[in-house]
Amino acid sequence: MNATTGNVIGIRFMRLGLLALAAGMLFGVIGGFQFLFPEFLQELLFTKTRPLHVSLVIAWIFLAAIGGIYFYLPRRCDLSLSWPSAATLHYWVFLVTGLVILACYVGGRFGGREYLEYPAVLSIPIFLSWIIFGLNYFRTVQKSREPWPVYFWMWGTGIVFFLITFTEAYLWLIPFFRDSMVREIIVQWKSYGALTGSWNMLVYGTAIFVASRISENPGVARSKLAYSLYFLGLFNLMFGWAHHTYLVPSATWIRTFAYAVSMTELLILGKILWDWRASLEEYQVHRYCNAYRFLFAADMWIFVNLILALIISVPAFNLVTHGTHITVAHAMGSTIGINTMILLASVFYVIREELPKSVHAGCSRYVAIGYRTTNISLAVFFAALVVAGLGKGFYDGESFQEMMQSIRPALLVFAVSGIALMVGLWVVIWHAFRLLGLVLSPEPVVGQASLQRDSA
């Protein structure tokens, strides 16, 4: 197989994503302590650390998922990129725009809405870069002579719906939406719900790709169950967003409809990964030790998150949980427990396939330590947020200060476990970043033809 620019750019996307995750965790920890001690690091107010944390972690999810797609298509699916230079352009647009956005946050220059707080004009290069990515992707997979496996559909759908929902997130710029507070807030959260669904398409597609490759069973990605997951995921993406806005005045049918479709997709993804793990031979588990363990963790977090998601999707329970830290627990369980674990599995799958065992050291002890620290501290972090959320949800007084005081012990546990979570992830990130660097290295690694040499 000939390597192309796409291989190299895919690894670069992944490495940039790992850096974004490392920095995002740092800002998360700073924000966590500002929550407890508002005077902590006044030079970098919480109004800055929160968007820095959220944007960097979301950037990690997109960068790692996109990097995987750019890498897997030419390197593992025999589909060389139709437009390799566009992939490089995509990378640089993403990097430069990202740096400008970070500079805006640090400098206190906002103007957008929650989660997209940067000045709205910066959404233009992001939108254009996804157009380029989409064109490149569809032109590439079009060359496949076989019927598409489910992950091709999921990746393509993720790209298309990112463009739709990202556009929808900016409808507030039109007076018709902006002039009505309720309409605007509901359309904003409709778009965010679907935007999350679009990145889930990219990430879950990656999970199925890696699972099918580790088990050497392409049937995993062509089964009826896999296509059921795809259609259910698409259905949820389109219609399952309103649990975010149950308590915003809106027509009852919007809530009832969302209630009916909520969260069913996680059940099927959990089933697929459960069945896949049962089907693995001992040698496959050992061979892809690191990738396997992160997919295993994702599976566990799917079940934990599923229980919580089902509870908060019932409007009657949502009356208590909405606007509390339980929502944050759900978001952290999804982005770290599920998305990050799947994407780290993808990164370590690439490392296992591209480097000889002598270099990546098989089941590295340090990665194992980082993996355990991450998951144990995430469990404590998650539980602390649920406890804090229940404290806030059941508080019936009028004083915000008094409520915050009553949940302070839980927030303290949350902040301390956040440090452990950051350290655990940093250990994993460091190893992944270093090993991906070896894949890119122009110096040949013993026993392995590096991508750069292949390209040459």
Binding site: F35, P38, Q42, F46, T47, R50, P51, G108, F110, G111, G112, R113, E114, E117, E168, L171, F177, R178, D179, S180, M181, V182, R183, I185, I186, V187, W189, K190, F231, L234, F235, M238, F239, H244, T245, Y246, L247, V248, P249, S250, A251, T252, W253, I254, R255, T256, Y259, V314, P315, A316, F317, N318, L319, H322, G323, V328, E398, F400, Q401, M404
Partner: protein, 127 residues
Amino acid sequence: MCAAFAVYSAVVYTSGTETPHLEPISEPARAGQQVFQEYNCIACHQFYGLGGYMGPDLTNVISKRGPIYARAFIASGSARMPNFKLSEPEISALIEYLTFVDGTGSYPPENYQVNWYGTVVQEDDPQ
């Protein structure tokens, strides 16, 4: 399914989310909305329980605490909120915006009904 999504979106945009009892946003309130975004107030505060958790929900701060109370907090800051040194016109615009938001409904909902199958109907819902 895509056609259903398009129709569904159009319906949500136009008929499921109207607040017929409310006047359109005024120019001063719109200016306050701009100030609210420029200082990224949503990082710490919430409307209808959506936003940050550092400070209180502001949906009904005007009707519950009054504009003078809100103005004093914005102008001076508190133990948990720094003084952003907003100008007097910016503070007035913010108060206008918070007054506008207050008129859109109540949070947490005060009058609601839980159906036997778990859904909730609120007094402020558009009929």
